[in-house]
Subunit: 432 residues, 2 copies
């Protein structure tokens, strides 16, 4: 009914009930959108997963002067390309929605950055194959592209308006973020172990990456549900971590220059790959839960809408105009309305519409409150991005370079990256 | 070009440049939307203005037992109805946009409340004509309807994403809010003067309304431009205020029960009407400026878009793929890329796209910062609305009753309304 009423209609006046319905419809459309968004996020997660493997292998390849992982790399690139196709397919599915949504200005821009990175990936792969690029430059090229893909997920998370769904998105982005830090640790470690030694910078970087993981995963835990946490406990089991800690110890014991057995490269790569694959499984389960939750919330909201449409149609049919009633609503507390108290039906009718509008207002307000909690969990990353953008502006540098500068300061001063970012922002406020 | 590219297209991949354009388009659509929104706000301002006059006159009419303003009321109702038609026309113009925008869930609901109030206005007018409603109940009925209309403007202001425009919206809503408090003061005063005396409650209410105006107008001043402030100074001239202060004194000197000359009712009504009409003129000028600003920003943004489209097309035509360049972007800081430094053209090309994306990210981030400042100015009202909704929920009362309770506590304790609201929220957090 309301769709018709809400399409512009010269001879007809806008009605309260239609706008109430339209408000509910608006919520429904949002939930529909996040069903699609979930698929996009999953495809990004899969693409990132393949790029991470490719990055790790590329660095074993380059670090070993092309002796290791030559064939593996070819297969990995194939599956990366398959996942890129899947990502671009999901993007095509949702882009009509995205370009129509006034809220997606930033999301669209982050997609532009991500796509721009993917467009130039073939050239990088060629250079790796010809060993005409340094291992560090190759790592950085992959890191930058994956960071742009993660930014898309962060921007997507910030457009979620349903708090229960927003919470899961926050768990998701932090899991993906932590997983990427683990992926970078795998790549850095692969480089060192395949070379047979770690210099100071490389050890520092690995320690920094461990610290970054210990920032991201707790946020994931805070927003994850029981089933997720069970998997998480399992992932954090003893035996596995003893081996990991041993190898981390070798990688981080700065100052030693004795050569390491280069076979450790395979052990390290296998171990870290097992870890990252487990994180990937948790990621997939999380996406499943996210999908289920979206469908659940959508069904809920649609039933509520149907219920209220029926209610309001029955009210329309009752033939009573809500007029006398609203007087009761607006003045029964202190006003002289004795002459209306008798009108039971009319009163019920006016109350209903009135209450529905107020219930909706109340619900929307509570939602926005819970939503704030979920959004605050994304602030660390916002702080970091703001600091990066300010450095870019003040020093006329690329965002990759700005990220590097922040990482370096954090390493040199042994402080958390977000702390450094925060003080950069404070400094810049003073410089303004 | 990009519109075509961005319509789903099986055989074609999403391109970075198209998403960059889409992000700019998204901004453009937002600015277009606020041009329409400005018209809607103007029509709401006009409707509120007429309802305020009607409310004032109705209370002289009821307060004088039907002796005064009988004809005037008929004319005023006619012009109210004309403005209601204009408002509903503007609403019809924009409703397609609104119902498509995922961000307007709350706005649509506030429109439902506003329309619901207007639908029952004829019944109220009938009761006033038959003097079958108390003056207090009549005032409350108008107050509630006008509050719902103002809520629409507040909700609209919160959907603005362009900071310069958001600032003007903040000035606008606070001007309208202050003007409404002045309108309520006119109505309350008209009631007292036409009765010939003010009881304690009525005097308290007037003092409270003066306090509320002194909260709203400073926020308007903070966000108003020079031309606006000049008009504002003119409005606050001496002679006018001496007369107003004298009458306010009579109205607020609680405890005196000597009868007042009922002719003061006309003097009060004329004076307050002059004041409110001046506020209305400032409101109209503000709307003009708002409209001009929207058009200005829109033209700016469209030119920027055209410029970048041309730039990117010329880059396409250059036939250079951006591939080698991004390597330069991503690794020139620390990576071994000497073999690419020669590729000047390609480098310029990749840099351009890359820089455009980063410029857009930087701009969007700065905007969101400035926007926060404007939004914070809307917080007082948010606090109030949250407190009202919590009272409604905890006591199962109407929002009108909740507003009354807050007003009463503020009056009894001589505290600001927002202070009371804030402590209500704190209390409720404890009760949870």
């Amino acid at each position: 009914m309301s769709a018709a009423r809400l399409s512009p209609h010269p001879h007809q006046r806008p009605r309260a009930t239609d706008y109430l319905i339209a408000s509910k419809r608006c919520e429904l459309r949002n939930l529909e959108r996040f069903l699609q968004m979930g698929k996009l996020v999953l495809s990004i997660g899969n693409l990132i997963h393949e790029l991470q493997r490719e990055r790790g292998a590329s660095n074993v390849f380059l670090g070993s002067g092309g002796r290791r992982f030559s064939e593996e790399l070819v297969e990995m690139i194939d599956s990366s390309l398959r996942q890129q196709d899947a990502f671009e397919h999901e993007l095509m599915e949702i882009q009509g929605e995205l370009t129509q949504d006034p809220a997606s200005t930033s999301l669209l821009n982050s997609l532009a950055a991500a796509l721009h990175g993917l467009e130039s990936l073939p050239a990088i792969r060629q250079q790796i194959r010809h060993q005409s690029i340094s291992a560090e430059a190759a790592i950085d090229a992959y890191i930058e592209r994956i960071r742009h893909l993660l930014t898309v997920v962060f921007e997507a998370a910030e457009t979620v308006v349903d708090p229960t769904i927003a919470g899961m998105m926050v768990a998701m982005v932090n899991l993906m973020q932590g997983k990427e830090m683990a992926g970078q640790e795998r790549a850095a470690g692969s480089l060192g172990f395949s070379r047979g030694h770690f210099d100071h910078a490389l050890s520092q970087r690995i320690m920094h990456l461990i610290d970054a993981q210990e920032r991201a995963f707790p946020v994931f835990e805070r927003f994850a549900d029981e089933e997720m946490l069970a998997l998480w406990k399992q992932h954090n089991r003893e035996d596995f971590w003893q081996e990991l800690k041993y190898l981390r110890g070798l990688a981080c014991s700065v100052g030693r220059y004795r050569e390491l057995d280069t076979d450790l490269a395979d052990q390290w790569f296998d171990l870290m790959t097992r870890r990252i694959d487990e994180l990937k499984n948790i990621e997939c389960l999380l996406e499943e839960h996210f999908h289920r939750r979206c469908i659940g919330r959508y069904t809920e909201a649609r039933n509520a809408l149907t219920h209220e449409q029926n209610l309001m149609e029955s009210l329309d049919d009752s033939g009573h105009s809500p007029d006398p009633v609203l007087v009761v609503c607006s003045s029964e507390n202190g006003g002289d309305t004795s002459q209306y108290r008798s009108d039971g039906v009319g009163r019920k009718l006016g109350r209903s519409v009135f209450d529905l509008v107020q219930q909706q207002a109340l619900r929307l307000d509570q939602l926005s409150g819970e939503l704030r909690i979920a959004r605050e969990a994304l602030d660390d990353r916002r702080t970091l991005e703001k600091a990066v953008l300010l450095l870019m502006k003040h020093q006329q540098i690329s965002d990759d370079e700005a990220h590097k500068q922040l990482r370096k300061v954090a390493m040199d001063q042994g402080r958390k990256l977000t702390e450094v970012a925060r003080s950069v922002l404070e400094m810049t406020d003073l410089l303004r």
